[in-house]
């Protein structure tokens, strides 16, 4: 059964090779042949990922040793299944969307090459089984998604790209801080369920290790837009083309979440961090980000910038759940990962379509858009409901669990302050998403229907939109999803606490 262990690499190598082929193979330069090839490669990746997740669960592969102490190791465990599937699915959807959308843009080869290679690195992050490999894939994800940011080559996009690069590198280097100390105080650098710290060695050095953990988490938090290193997100996401920004918000932020999960639950161990000043600090920061993100989004008028700020706050919901470190909160946050990826992906795609069709970037110009593009706006409305957390959509379920988890936790202030802030932020989310729908559908009296032109997009755009919107309401038929979430939570946190 030796061969099948190498199959783990397929989800990473396949998109990588396809990306390189798109970039360099002369045959694929022509648009007509490139589009089917891209679709084929995205679909192939999605399928291969699903197969690997199902078949090779629990297997690990020690690829090679970069240096005596640094080894590359990949494995499929519960987090991989959850995130890899989600990620590859989202990549497929936005890939399909981009077929149509890219007519609007130039130099497609570069876009698609890095689009595919970005997916490879994202899957690498999910599949990595020890700290150095995680760090490697993390860095290469930044580098490979960078060209997507400054794709439109405007001065603003280049500056945003450089800002994105430097912030992620800052975060990555802070994350790198963990490796040496774990090499000294931990038994191994591989992810071990429940943490690798060797109690004997860490006897007198808790303070130091806590600081290192805090730095690592804040470092990896940069990708998720956590407070200290969040400034790049509102700048980078809007300038990227729609499919890219959808992925950046939807999936790349989740890579940061994976890293933080690994650091907390698989490296330092939840018992080590629970109840310490690190946990309280992280909780306060995440709540601060939640509140700040939604208030900034509320005041922002440029459509995609508003959505970027909303990503900042939504991802902090997830982090809040993770930092609470109990099973219900974790369940809530994993649910919110699903909800946010699907919904935010959908919303960004809608926004992209609107801009693609009508070139209106400012929110205030969107009066009566519902009339021109009813289907798109319906999808937009449903997804925003999911984000706001109105019952039929998934957002409500995750926020519910998060609130329960926060109350269960015994923290003096944060246990009740958490739900309050979640509530306020939900209201603010509604405040900045729903007016678009309202103005879109009810333009008011003076809207002259005569010049109205139906601008509904082609199927390439509508199909992914509809799929995402329906999925965003997965809580209608929660059974499969809830099962997935529960056993993932059980796998991550089971048996550790309480």
């Amino acid at each position: 059964m030796m061969t099948n262990r190498f199959l783990i690499l397929v989800p990473i190598l396949f998109p990588l090779l396809c990306g390189l082929a798109v970039a360099f193979a002369p045959a694929l330069q022509a648009g007509s042949r490139r589009r089917p090839f891209v679709l084929f490669s995205l679909g192939g990746t999605f399928l291969s990922t699903i197969c690997v997740l199902l078949l090779l669960r629990g297997h690990s592969l020690h690829l090679c040793d970069l240096a005596p102490s640094i080894e590359l190791r990949f494995a499929v465990d519960e987090i991989t299944c959850f995130f890899a599937g989600l990620g590859s699915f989202m990549w497929l959807m936005s890939g399909i969307f981009s077929m149509e959308y890219m007519q609007h843009e130039t130099n497609h080869t570069r876009f698609y090459a890095f689009f595919l290679m970005g997916e490879a690195s994202m899957l690498g992050v999910t599949l990595s089984a020890n700290y150095p490999t995680l760090y490697l894939c993390f860095e290469w994800m930044t580098l490979l998604t960078l060209p997507l940011v400054f794709h439109i080559q405007s001065e603003e996009s280049i500056q945003a790209g450089i800002k994105y690069l430097l912030y992620s590198f800052a975060g990555a280097f802070a994350g790198l801080m963990g490796i040496p100390f774990l090499a000294k105080y931990g038994t191994t650098l591989n992810f071990v369920h429940g943490g690798v710290l060797d109690p004997l060695l860490t006897e007198g050095h808790e303070g130091l290790l806590l600081a290192v953990a805090f730095a690592a988490i804040l470092g990896f938090g940069a990708k998720t837009g956590l407070f200290p290193l969040h400034a790049w997100l509102p700048a980078a996401h809007p300038v990227a083309p729609a499919p890219a920004s959808a992925l950046l918000s939807g999936v790349v932020t989740k890579a940061g979440v994976i890293a933080i999960l690994r650091v907390i639950y698989y490296l330092f161990g939840a018992q080590f961090l629970a109840g310490t000043w690190v946990q309280t600090a992280l909780l306060t920061i995440s709540l601060l980000t939640v509140f700040m993100g939604s208030s900034m989004a509320f005041r922002e008028n440029i459509f995609k910038k508003r959505l970027a700020y909303s990503t900042v706050s939504q991802v902090s919901y997830i982090l809040f759940g993770i930092f609470l470190m109990n099973d219900t909160a974790l369940e809530g946050s994993l649910l919110h990962v699903l909800c946010h990826s699907l919904a935010k992906g959908g919303i960004f795609l809608c926004a992209g379509t609107i801009i693609y069709k009508t070139d209106k970037t400012d929110v205030r110009q969107l009066r009566g858009i519902g009339k021109e593009m009813p289907v798109v706006l319906w999808c937009f409305t449903l997804c925003s409901l999911a984000l706001v957390g109105i019952p039929p959509m998934s957002g409500f379920m995750s926020k519910w669990y998060l609130a329960l988890g926060s109350l269960e936790n015994g923290f003096p202030v944060i246990s009740w302050l958490g739900p309050v802030i979640l509530l306020i932020s939900a209201i603010l989310t509604a405040g900045y998403l729903l007016p678009i729908t309202i103005h879109g559908f009810f333009p008011g009296a003076d809207f002259d229907y005569s010049t109205l032109v139906k601008k509904d997009p082609t199927l390439w755009i509508l199909v992914p939109l509809l799929i995402l919107t329906t999925l965003a309401a997965f809580t209608l038929f929660p059974q499969p999803f809830m099962a997935l979430v529960e056993n993932t939570t059980e796998a991550i946190i089971g048996g550790m606490l309480s």
Binding site: E139, Q153, L165, L166, A183, K184
Partner: protein
């Protein structure tokens, strides 16, 4: 067998001297002569490394106890390997680059002679011989720095002389202090200074040698000469200030720390703390200055200042892990930095652009050069799959081993410096390729990729980087075995 030790020193010096005097008809012939001399010497070094002749070859008795002698041991193999590998590349690059410069015979004479003397520094068997070659290296490289003989070059040369001779004098006093206490002995792994109780006399001696050799390794207060020596032609800055001269400073410092004073004596003492603090601070200072500097080659020079202190920091940790990390960074930095200098030099030689803001959009015209520059930049920043990451991780792990506040400060400064390196290297490459539509950029037809003779070194260097980046296991094992003598 021992006699072979003198050859790598004498051969290039003889070749250099001859090339200046022999009435070679055409520059091409002279280039050929120099090329074969350099290659021959590199092969000789390779032979020496493989054969590893043991025993000490004494050259001269200065006084009864002080003797000039040569020996090949683990550490010198590393340094010899580095210069043996890089010097032919640099020479090839120099042939192409120096075509339009004048008084070349003198340039190539001194250029080749410095090869021999750097080999001398590597092969020396005790502190005084190393000091002896160290001083000669200053003398031989002064004409190279002052090659253009214009006002700027002379000023840079004068500053170079002042710092180097000042540093050498300091280290000489340190060496003599050590000799007065421990007797004029040869190198032994683990040092020959009397361990006993911690006496501040030897610690002061160590600090003097550290600062003395630190001048060439561009330690913070005494780094001034390296950026201003950027005025020299690129082969000089690339080879000498990225590899030979500064590396001999670092090599000398490692030798004096590990083979003369010995880690047992210095471990945990205030001297080690001072050395750690100084190198850690230089790491930060160098990168910060590099970020602020707009002149391209001075920026790379400041980056060398910071990277050299990586190596010093590693060696000052006084643990074998630290030393092997330092040695690995010495090798990798040599390769990475020489590539960066070559790219900068090619752009300067082809387009005459010296300042970073002027390189915007040049990537489209010189894709290969800037591709190499991007890869080397990524390597230096420490992105995985490239050598920078490996040596940086080793350094961090080694520093984390000893729970010492200064080592912690070192770790923080290493990471901050990595960020600053990213800040001063990567945006440049981004802006070179990606140019906003509206901007009006004037390009002459000269702005295109250099000839084949320059591209070959680029190719070889990138290959070396990727190989070391991905598969540096055997190299690291070799280093750790060397470290144990």
């Amino acid at each position: 067998m021992k006699l072979f030790l003198i050859l790598p020193i004498l051969l290039p010096m003889a070749a250099g001297a001859l090339s200046a005097w022999l009435p070679l008809p055409s520059p091409k012939k002279r280039d050929g002569f120099i090329a074969c001399a350099v290659i021959l010497n590199s092969l000789l070094i390779l032979l020496l490394i493989l054969l590893k002749p043991s025993g000490i070859l004494t050259l001269l008795h200065l006084t009864d106890s002080i003797v000039l002698s040569l020996r090949l041991d683990g550490l010198s193999v590393v340094f010899l390997g580095l210069i043996g590998f890089l010097w032919p590349l640099a020479s090839f690059y120099a042939f192409e680059y120096m075509e339009h410069e004048e008084n070349l015979p003198r340039f190539f004479a001194f250029y080749t002679m410095s090869y021999g003397i750097t080999a001398g520094v590597a092969l020396s068997a005790n502190l005084i011989t190393m000091y002896f070659f160290y001083e000669l290296l200053t003398l031989v490289t002064v004409p190279l720095v002052a090659h253009e003989e214009d006002h700027r070059a002379m000023r840079a040369a004068r500053k170079y002389i002042l710092y180097s001779i000042g540093g050498a004098a300091l280290s000489f006093v340190g060496i003599m202090m050590l000799y007065s206490r421990a007797g004029a002995k040869d190198y032994i792994f683990g040092g020959f200074a009397p361990v006993g109780e911690v006496d501040s006399y030897l610690l002061i001696a160590y600090l003097l040698t550290f600062i003395g050799f630190g001048v060439k390794a561009a330690i913070f207060p005494l780094h001034g000469w390296l950026p201003s020596a950027g005025v020299a032609p690129t082969p000089v800055t690339a080879l000498l200030h990225a590899v030979a001269v500064v590396k001999s400073g670092v090599f000398a410092s490692i030798r004096s720390t590990w083979f003369a004073f010995g880690p047992e004596l210095l471990f945990g003492t205030w001297a080690q703390h001072a050395a750690l603090f100084l190198s850690a601070f230089t790491i930060l200072f160098g990168s910060a200055m590099a970020l602020r500097e707009q002149h391209w080659k001075r920026r790379l020079a400041y980056s060398t200042v910071s990277n050299l202190s990586y190596i010093l920091f590693g060696s000052c940790l006084m643990t074998s892990a630290g030393l092997s990390a330092a040695l690995s960074h010495m090798l990798f930095h040599g390769i990475m930095k020489i590539t960066l200098f070559f790219c900068a030099g090619t752009v300067l030689c082809k387009t005459g652009r010296e300042y970073v803001p002027q390189t915007e959009g040049l990537g489209r015209k010189m894709p290969l050069t800037f591709a190499t520059y991007l890869i080397a930049g990524l390597a230096l920043t420490g992105t995985p799959l490239l050598p920078g990451y490996i040596s940086k991780t080793n350094l961090l792990t080694a520093a984390a081993q000893l729970n010492d506040p200064y080592a912690l400060f070192g770790i923080v400064s290493l990471l901050l410096s990595a960020l600053l390196t990213a800040a001063y290297l990567l945006p440049m490459s981004v802006r070179a390729y990606i140019v906003p539509e509206g901007s009006s950029l004037s390009f002459t037809e000269k702005d295109r990729d250099p000839g084949l003779r320059m591209l070959i070194p680029f190719g070889i260097l990138i290959l070396a980087m990727v190989i070391f980046g991905v598969h540096s296991g055997p190299l690291m094992d070799a280093l750790s075995t060397l470290v144990h003598g």
